[in-house]
Symmetry: C2
Subunit: 202 residues, 2 copies
Amino acid sequence: MKHRPRNLPADERRAVTVEAVIELAATQNPGEITTAAIAGHMNLTQGALFRHFPSKEAIWQAVMEWVAERLLARVDRAAEGVDSPLAAMRGMFLAHVEFVAEHPGVPRMIFGELQRAEPTAAKQMVRKLIQRYRERLHRLIESGKVRGELSAELDSEAAAILFIGTIQGLVMQSLLAGDVAHMRRDAPRVFAIYSRGIGRAL
Amino acid sequence: MKHRPRNLPADERRAVTVEAVIELAATQNPGEITTAAIAGHMNLTQGALFRHFPSKEAIWQAVMEWVAERLLARVDRAAEGVDSPLAAMRGMFLAHVEFVAEHPGVPRMIFGELQRAEPTAAKQMVRKLIQRYRERLHRLIESGKVRGELSAELDSEAAAILFIGTIQGLVMQSLLAGDVAHMRRDAPRVFAIYSRGIGRAL
DNA sequence: TAAGATAGTAAGTAATTACTATCTTGTGAG
DNA sequence: CTCACAAGATAGTAATTACTTACTATCTTA
């Protein structure tokens, strides 16, 4: 067992902070996570946090950066090298759900951040994440049409909205059940309906 | 113009309070709505609120009751008298979206309430609302199968999850755009894909 | 129209929040 | 070994929160 030194270098401390927030968001309402709770979860005094972040908002920004980076990386990895666009979308979907199941706080933080009235840096981060996500989807959908895997008359924009909404539905389901296991189980079943909706005639 | 009397009877004041919260939630993060903001929005001092509600939590409970009642009524009205189950589902979907477009804060309050770690009365209210919603969906889906409108092999549970998720996707879209107009426009397009996913073979 | 009931005001409270100032300690480069 | 400085502890601050209290205005009705 690695013995953690009391004093961490600044960049490591920042990384640990982000992890602490992600972990807290798994069981707490993200909007109610206080700097005291974050510090407590990483065995640090509250004031020490502000040695590494100028404000709480900066912490949230760092968290959303972490999320955007990891999520897109996972989703890209799942889709790369897959020849069939529909299969790539399926891989992307399941990878996304798996990511969310590992970090249940993530979609709630994203949704929570979008609700903020003020245009925070973290909110801007989320917007950019979703924009990039949709670019990927759009590319796959278009090439799926060209390949004849997807219906030629498919409304691409609506299909992208539905893709993301489908995941939101699973998240909501897991919030209701208070258990993330349902998500993994239901994901393939729900995607089956989605793919039938966008696929070429049966 | 009707001149509003300064003193309202208790039940009317409670109703006005609920309306104030719904209106505030349309433009503010529901989790950040303070009792001072509620009172201010209805031209009342903050303390006076507590003459009518024992706690802020009780206000949220009243709000969720309002939401559950109205939403289910709207959705029921849209489905009643429609012979085809699939058409009823479509009516339900569009009525729901219309309701949300009129009260954009509603889905955000619901989602926000589900996130709460503590099992509040308002949260319980939301659970019950969604349960009742799903019962209605389940009934329609099953009768759709019997009628042959829906695919016989359809996974009913997954279809219900996707139905609700589809609306969540539209909500997310409207949060991104900061505009509720997109929802009304996109709703029929998104439902078209959904209904293709659950319908009998083409 | 007097009097009790109801509704609202103004000015508090204690608790919690993000953030800061000051002092202390751990640690790695020389 | 040592010592400068990065990292953390301690103990604050002002602002904001839900909620309360003591009092006043306004209705209702006998």
